[in-house]
């Protein structure tokens, strides 16, 4: 069972929600509905599942309904329609007491503008969630200190929020959410107010923490780089509706429509691509049944000057060059083994593109992508460039 199950969730802000709902069902756009009824569509018929322990990123432009969606998950906003199930329990059917209990123990939230209590010290901010549950002073102080240590703020217990930098304040916000030890963390643009360097630190830190915590995290951002860095899965929203859900890979390589593609366009692909994204299908010769003549013909046909050699099982054996192979043919020799060069540059399909670029710069031959001895593909400069600039790459490495 999924940790969170969202089904047909809709939120319409305004007075004439009934009329707006009808229009929405008829397929009217957000703008039309605003014009006709004065209602704003916050979230439109969103459905998705979040699995236990994953970082689920929700992404979209400003006003696309991210904040509304995440607030529907802990019912800070009441839905107009649809359901949110937490471990199979319907949030909308809970009475205030049960809902309060869920908010106290099951999910905590981190806010974009931190939402710290300015009149409370750092420690007492972090203690807040425990304090309202009636946890006794010593125990909650202990937990607060632990959670402050976790985010690297040991020693700042008695400071006030306005004495800390933005990054530190957000750590306090994170510590406050962690102190309750919730199963689910809701993070609404938690890092957006931070400057880029600190932001990257915080992302790393969150990933580090997640290694040990294994929480279910719903992370809102409008920054694709951030989404790709930390997301296990990414959801893209537009005008309140979900346009695509997928792994970072899928979003990048297979944007479901123009909107997603626009998003994806700007991303620095070299940061997220690995060898598998930029390799093409290699020309090979099978040394067990093919000789120099086949090799030479294949090189001529493909207009290349060297070719990788494998055995029947596609195990990579080495590379042969056109000039040496044609010498073999001239001398009427049959065995490719004589000119086989075993020392070739290889990477695995998981190798990040940044590393491959350096290899490409110095290597005279294509780079072989090898997993478990099997040759899966090769990387040539053309295919690399094409992939990084977002142009389609054909099987043979040409660009369309």
């Amino acid at each position: 069972m999924s940790k969170i199950n969202v089904e047909g969730l809709t939120k319409i802000f305004g007075k004439k929600t009934k009329q707006a709902r009808e229009l929405l069902n008829e397929g009217s756009s957000k703008d039309e509905i605003l014009q006709k009824t004065g209602c704003t569509v916050g979230v439109n018929n969103a459905s998705f599942d979040v699995e236990e322990g994953e970082i689920f990123v929700i992404m979209g432009l400003s006003g696309s309904g991210k904040s509304t969606l995440v607030r529907l998950l802990n019912r800070l906003i009441e839905p107009t329609k649809g359901s949110v199930q937490l471990d199979g329990k319907d949030l909308a059917k809970m009475d205030t007491k049960t809902l309060r209990e869920v908010r106290r123990t099951d999910m905590s939230m981190v806010f974009q503008k931190f939402g710290l209590f300015p009149f409370r010290t750092v420690a007492s901010n972090v203690e807040y969630g425990l304090e309202i549950q009636g946890v006794d002073r010593l125990e909650r102080r202990e937990k607060a200190e632990k959670s402050l240590e976790l985010v690297g703020l040991k020693g700042y217990e008695d400071k006030f929020p306005d004495e800390l930098s933005g990054g530190m304040q957000q750590r306090v916000g994170l510590a406050r959410a962690l102190a309750n030890d919730p199963e689910i963390l809701l993070m609404d643009e938690a890092f957006s107010a931070l400057d880029p360097l600190i932001r990257k630190d915080m992302q790393d830190e969150l990933l580090d923490l997640q290694q040990t915590m294994k929480k279910t995290i719903i992370f809102i951002t409008h920054d694709l780089d951030e989404a790709l860095r930390i997301g296990d899965r990414i959801t893209i929203m537009k005008d309140g509706a979900i346009v695509q859900i997928g792994s970072p890979e899928e979003i990048l390589t297979n944007p479901s429509n123009d909107y997603v593609e626009k998003f994806v366009e700007d991303v620095d692909r070299s940061k997220v691509y690995t060898a598998s994204n930029v390799m093409v299908r290699p020309e090979t010769v099978n040394i067990e049944k093919e000789g120099p003549r086949v090799a030479l013909k294949r090189m001529r046909d493909a207009n290349i000057s060297s070719i990788y050699v494998t055995n029947r099982n596609r195990k990579l054996l080495g590379i042969v060059h056109a000039d040496q192979v044609s010498d073999l043919v001239k001398n009427n020799k049959d065995d490719l083994e004589e000119v086989l060069e075993a020392d070739v540059p290889t990477v695995t399909s998981e190798t990040p593109v940044t590393e491959i670029m350096e290899m490409l710069a110095t290597s005279g031959v294509p780079i072989a992508v090898v997993d478990n001895d099997r040759l899966n593909g090769i990387i040539i400069r053309g295919s690399m460039l094409a992939a990084l600039t977002g142009v389609e790459v054909n099987e043979d490495g040409s660009v369309s």
Binding site: R71, N74, L76, R100, E101, V102, R103, R104, S108, M109, F111, Q112, K113, F114, G115, L116, F117, P118, F119, Y128, G129, E131, I132, Q133, F160, R176, N180, L186
Partner: protein, 278 residues
């Protein structure tokens, strides 16, 4: 304009006031409470020897007023000056009147302000009433006060409360409404009950604004002391009132200065409490 008979508004209000007299036991209760409050204040403030009072208030102002030497010095000299002019006992009476009016205003005004902040319709209803209460000439409040509580200190307190309470209500409402939505969301998201949210988040966040309201209430109450003396409230106001009646400019001025000094001291102390960080 003779076409319409003039509306018997005065008659209606008189009738209403008469009718209210039926609820005498309530007013007796209120009067007893106010008397009790006044008694405690005058007795407890009155038994303190002048010099201890002066030094204690100076020290308290210094410590809680943000450690400003000038302010502490002003309190010291101002109170000494009042004592020197032989208005000490009157000052204690006036202070008791102002403090009890303020306490009652806070006791009633803050809850009304809180209630109002949580209910938009209520806000719409109460706001014009507050405007009305504040624009009505303060003298008018003396009439019902006398009608229900006779003459003396108690009706003075009642009139002062009616006149001075609006800023406390207004600014409590404003202060709570101004608390940033993200902080409110935070307290909700962690599962606070409404009471926890109010006591642990909203009131502390609104404290500065509420204190500004209480400060205004004190000042308004103080501005009522001369008026209240017309219905028999004793204290510095009474001295001014007498002086006016007997055309004694000097005495009136002395008592007036004493009121001003008291006003400045109360103003600065409450302002410091409001703005002192955390």
């Amino acid at each position: 304009m003779d076409l319409f008979p003039s509306m018997p508004l005065a008659q209606w209000i008189d009738d209403f006031v008469d009718w209210l007299n039926n609820a005498e036991f309530i007013f007796d209760g209120i009067e007893a409470f106010i008397s009790f409050l006044l008694l405690i204040l005058t007795e407890s403030l009155g038994v303190i020897p002048e010099w201890i009072f002066i030094i204690a208030l100076t020290v308290v102002t210094f410590i809680f007023g943000g450690r400003k030497t000038g302010l502490a010095l002003f309190v010291l000299i101002g109170l000494f000056f009042i004592d020197n002019l032989n208005y000490w006992d009157d000052m204690i009476l006036t202070l008791s009147l102002v403090l009890s009016a303020t306490m009652i205003s806070v006791l009633i005004g803050v809850p009304i302000g809180i209630w109002m902040s949580k209910n938009n319709i209520l806000e719409q209803i109460i706001k014009p009433i507050l405007d009305f209460m504040q624009t009505m000439p303060a003298f008018v409040y003396l009439i019902p006060a006398v009608a229900f509580f006779g003459i003396g200190m108690e009706p003075g307190v009642v009139a002062s409360v009616i006149f001075a309470m609006p800023p406390t209500i207004r600014l409590t409402n404003l202060g709570i409404r101004q608390v940033s939505s993200e902080v409110i969301e935070a307290s909700d998201a962690f599962g606070s009950t409404a009471g926890q949210k109010l006591w642990k988040v909203q009131l502390p966040m609104a404290r500065t604004t509420i204190m500004a309201g209480i400060n205004q209430t004190i000042m308004l109450a103080l501005s009522m002391v001369v008026i209240a003396s017309m219905i028999g409230a004793s204290g510095l106001g009474e001295q001014v009132y007498y002086a006016v009646g007997r055309n004694q400019a000097g005495q009136g001025f002395e008592a007036g200065i004493a009121i001003v000094i008291l006003a400045i001291i109360l103003d600065r102390i409450t302002q410091s409490i409001g703005s002192s960080s955390r």
